[in-house]
Subunit: 62 residues, 2 copies
DNA sequence: GCTTCATGTAAAAGAAACTTTACATGGAAA
DNA sequence: TTTCCATGTAAAGTTTCTTTTACATGAAGC
């Protein structure tokens, strides 16, 4: 799965640590997802979409 | 997370085994998701939405 | 009655996601 | 130049997701 998290986060002026705080996960988790080391769980994907104010399909693609 | 997989599957006239085949997962995985024992991975959620011809948010909710 | 099919569930094992701790690098800025 | 911040990554450990195998139940049909 691909995602545009890094771009979306940068557009919002957030650091990885900022986003991790909003998502209540570790900074390493944000980093790993941004760099495609693994995909988030479905609940985390929902939270990501919510804080980005986008639909899941607008953040992630198969 | 809640989901309406059981209803959506029934509407389509599919057994759990049918759906598992389409999703390329075990029947137990379909059963576990339908009965809320755990949430699917994000890739599997995408596949489920695709075979249901719905958006992820139309199948799952936080 | 028997058989078949759909469903629910369990145990054990493996894979994937996530955590904590820790260290390295590079850029900006004082 | 040294301090600070953001980023990348690693190792070890826990939790969550998924598989395989297996067994139980109930409904429907013969």
């Amino acid at each position: 799965m691909k995602n545009s998290l890094k771009t979306l986060r940068a557009e919002r002026g957030w650091s990885q640590a900022d986003l991790a705080g909003l998502l209540k996960v570790s900074r390493q988790t944000v980093n790993a997802i941004e760099n495609g080391r693994y995909d988030p769980s479905l609940p985390l994907a929902f939270t990501i979409a919510r804080v980005m104010q986008l639909r899941i399909e607008e953040v992630f693609e198969e």
